[in-house]
């Protein structure tokens, strides 16, 4: 049985929507600040969430980000519809990237996205089905 969250909110993200890319993470950061979470924890959650949100905008068709806050932790789930990741182990290697020149021109594709998420979250689970999509589930303890 899962613990009932104190707070839960969902955000819809569209692939290739570069103008709004990062807005959900900025809103999530503001919510965490309002709740009174410690700044160091907010920063880690915001960085992990922003990387995940950018991954959706850059590589997937669309996604739902779900923020759940319990008395113990912040949980962020990002469930996308997209091509999926054929080799998650490879994608976790710092510097590995499949980014196009267009993505690099936007300042992304350094191959640090998933490693950054892993470094900032306390736990990270990745489930990916090629041709269907990827779900990231991360938790950061309060």
């Amino acid at each position: 049985m899962s613990i009932e969250p104190l707070f839960c909110q969902r955000f819809e993200i569209s692939g290739k929507d570069f103008i709004n890319a990062g807005k959900a993470s900025t809103t999530i950061k503001a919510i965490l600040r309002e709740i009174g979470i410690r700044p160091a924890v907010i920063r880690r959650a915001a960085i992990a969430c922003y990387e995940a949100e950018m991954n959706v905008v850059l590589y997937a068709r669309k996604a739902i980000i779900e923020l759940r806050i319990t008395p113990q932790e912040i949980r962020i789930q990002v469930e996308d519809e997209g091509d999926g990741i054929p080799d998650v182990g490879l994608a976790m290697q710092p510097g590995y990237s499949t980014a196009s020149d267009e993505i690099r021109e936007m300042g992304f594709g350094a191959g640090m996205g998933l490693p950054n998420i892993k470094n900032n979250a306390d736990t990270l689970q990745i489930r990916s089905v090629v041709g269907q999509g990827t779900t990231l589930e991360m938790a950061i303890g309060l």
């Binding site: 890319a21 900025t26 950061k29 922003y50 990387e51 950018m54 992304f108 350094a110 640090m112 950054n116």
Partner: protein, 132 residues
């Protein structure tokens, strides 16, 4: 280092947040790839970059960057300026390239992220840096 000093050292134009140049920054970081910024930057930092789109400002907001210096004579686009004003991030622009901008600030005592020791005052940090 105060942002006013950064403006002077790099001969910057102020794009946004001119009333907040009294703010103190603790470290500098120079990069054009935003995931590299997110991986290495420390809080209360100055970001020096040639990336001028709105993601430079969103990255700054997420990573607690206080100010951005756009290098090589580049200017941020309108969306970037609008988000910076909304989020209270100072934007500056210099004609100097990235390497020289970082070098001049470093030479004047602004440390990089790897040298940042948590909780150390400016005076103690200067003493520590002089031993490196």
């Amino acid at each position: 280092m105060k942002l006013e000093a950064v403006r002077e050292i790099l001969n910057c134009r102020v794009i946004s947040g001119g009333n907040r140049l009294g703010q103190e920054i603790e470290v500098g970081c120079g990069a054009d790839l935003m995931s590299d910024v997110l991986a290495f930057i420390k809080p209360n930092a100055l970001l020096l970059t040639g990336l001028t789109n709105v993601q430079s400002v969103r990255t700054a907001n997420v990573a607690e960057v206080k100010a951005i210096v756009y290098v090589r004579g580049k200017f941020p686009d309108q969306d970037a300026v609008a988000v910076a004003q909304e989020q209270g991030i100072v934007l500056l622009a210099t004609n100097l390239p990235l390497y020289e901008s970082c070098g001049r600030l470093y030479a004047r005592g602004l440390p990089g992220g790897s040298e940042r020791v948590e909780g150390l005052s400016d005076v103690n940090r200067a003493a520590l840096l002089s031993t490196l």
